[in-house]
Symmetry: C2
Subunit: 360 residues, 2 copies
């Protein structure tokens, strides 16, 4: 069942945003073609692939044709509809396995999964009503964060509950949707691990990145992270434990909180991204094999590439009209620009990023 795709084979990618685009750009040097499927006709990934389908994820005929034209399917986003994944899985291998999505699409099932496999997470509670919320705040304390169970990203669908915040207002702020309440732990910093696992269970990870957010959106990833070596190892082991438990194939991102201070620091998993991840974009320029190529290798049955860094690096996202600084960034030393080819620079929208290298 687990096949090795030779050069000339075709990867199917669900989703045509910047992640799909960078996956396609990384498949090409392996001699692999890409067929991108996305309902958005202005998908940036359409411009760099050998074939694309612009159709709804509910279009059964288009999905059948897509499945017939590719040798394996992957996706750039975790909210692939269940029916879409099921229809494709019946016809072609889909990696990572869509059963993983049904866990990671929902913060409750994701947290239950992490607890079950023995990975530390922050205290939390399930919130299905205002009464649940009141009880959960009693139990967990303030400050805490209320997050919708599904479809949250870049700070959307979440609100902070501080000492004086009204709980009914908070619950309405997230649309009174099924939610979780998470304790707000005292943060030393946020880091992430980008790992990859093959069919046969080989696991490799890149060095841990230290991430800074602005307005809940990733702003910079810096490697190396300013954490002790023991936490690097611990992060690696957490990533491997998660990937093994999922029987994962492909790249996954694990967002981690570093909590506590001094000798008493601890890693807690914030969330899992079953895909390539923004905090791994630095690998494009600081490693010989990027997270994108690593993902393509894993789903194509290739051996994983070397994850060693040749340089230190800071990745900075270009959000909204920050993309207009490209001409100033272009001549800077040791600087690599990545522009996503999106038509419209809305505020906060991820338009590109820049990697700046320095000597190890």
């Amino acid at each position: 069942m687990s096949q090795t795709l030779s050069p000339g084979a075709t990867i199917g990618i669900l989703g045509g945003g910047q992640l799909g685009r960078m996956l396609a750009l990384s498949a090409a040097p392996l001699g692999l073609n890409c067929h991108v499927y996305c309902p958005d006709e202005t998908s940036p990934a359409f411009d760099v692939c050998s074939q694309f389908t612009c159709a709804s994820y509910e279009d059964a005929d288009a999905l059948d044709m897509f499945a017939a034209s590719v040798d394996v399917v992957t996706y750039e986003f975790e909210n692939v509809p269940d029916a879409t994944a099921a229809q494709l899985s019946a016809q072609v291998e889909v990696y990572p396995d869509p059963s993983i999505l049904s866990i990671t699409q929902d913060r409750v099932t994701e947290k239950q999964f992490l607890e079950k496999i023995g990975v530390d997470i922050a205290p939390w509670a399930k919130v299905d009503s205002l009464e649940d919320l009141r009880a959960s705040v009693e139990k967990i304390g303030r400050p805490a964060i209320l997050k919708t169970r599904r479809f949250g990203y870049d700070g959307k669908g979440q609100t902070t509950i501080g000492p004086d915040d009204d709980l009914q207002e908070a619950y309405e702020a997230i649309g009174a949707a099924p939610a979780v309440l998470e304790a707000m732990v005292s943060l030393e910093c946020e880091v992430s691990l980008i790992g990859a696992r093959t069919h046969s269970g080989a696991f490799k990870a890149f060095d841990v990145a230290e991430n800074l957010h602005e307005n809940h959106i990733l702003k910079t990833s810096t490697v190396p992270a300013d954490i002790p070596p023991s936490l690097q190892v611990e992060a690696f082991e957490m990533g491997r434990k998660i990937a093994d438990a999922f029987d994962y194939v492909g790249v996954l991102g694990v967002e981690l909180f570093v909590t506590g201070t001094g000798g008493d620091v601890q890693l807690l998993v914030n969330e899992i991204a079953p895909r390539v991840h923004n905090s791994g974009h630095w690998t494009q320029d600081a490693c010989t094999v990027s997270q994108f190529e690593q993902h393509i290798r894993a789903i194509a049955g290739w051996p994983l590439g070397d994850t060693a860094r040749h340089s230190d690096v800071v990745m900075t996202n270009l959000l909204g009209d920050e993309i207009e600084t490209w001409a100033d960034l272009a001549p800077e030393p040791a600087t690599s620009i990545h522009i996503y080819g999106k038509a419209e620079a809305r505020p906060g929208r991820k338009m590109g990023h820049v990697n700046v290298l320095s000597r190890l």
Copy 2:
């Protein structure tokens, strides 16, 4: 006249081989789209661009439509027909300027150009007949190399004249075509300089690569080259002199002979490639900006990128069925694979390359 193209603009590329493909893959991270024009329906570059035209270089209607669809035109090969270049130039900027091609397409005009600007080359003579050849061998001596004036590459259209070789046979071996005879200088090594020049005359070059050929085809490029720093500087100055004299826009490759020994070494220009060059493929993985991106930047009116290396590197071409070693190469440390997506692995055909990095 010299415009700066913003992200979203379209680069037209004549030629859909591996160089066109890697140009297109390098334009994408700058947010630039590519329209590839090539008569070969199996062109590898067609798989990674937003638009392609499969038509003859003599198809005036197709060329008009191509010109109307792009913001600038460049090419991956130096034998663009004059009429094709002229038709496109009348409608859109073409870089490097096609007038340069008329010089570099012909070994005689190229050598005359180099002599005129004061760049050293090996002794040579024009050969238009067997009588010319006899007289030239008298003048230049043996061994020498007889090369057709036009359309030679990878050792095609050339033959060596050793101490005992018959001149008539040699002349017939190159099809009795208009030719040049070149003295075979005593070689220390062969190196190349990959430089880039902008509209405004800025010039940057990557470090000199040392090149090994097998059967007249490039096998490896190693950086740094084992030559003294003074020759690195001299190569840079030769590259700049050539680029300035051409009022060049884009990347050019300059192949150089290192001749003599010890303290008495000298650089001679072998030939000029008015395009990205095989001996510059190492820049894809050892620099933040590759020769391909540098070329796109120059023709798009962008500032040139940093040419500094972060690593030492050896580039090895994968010729013919050597491409089948990809699965063994893939997991090797610090190794980056580049497969061109060609359908058929004919003997000696350039199918891909691999860059192996090591610490500076």
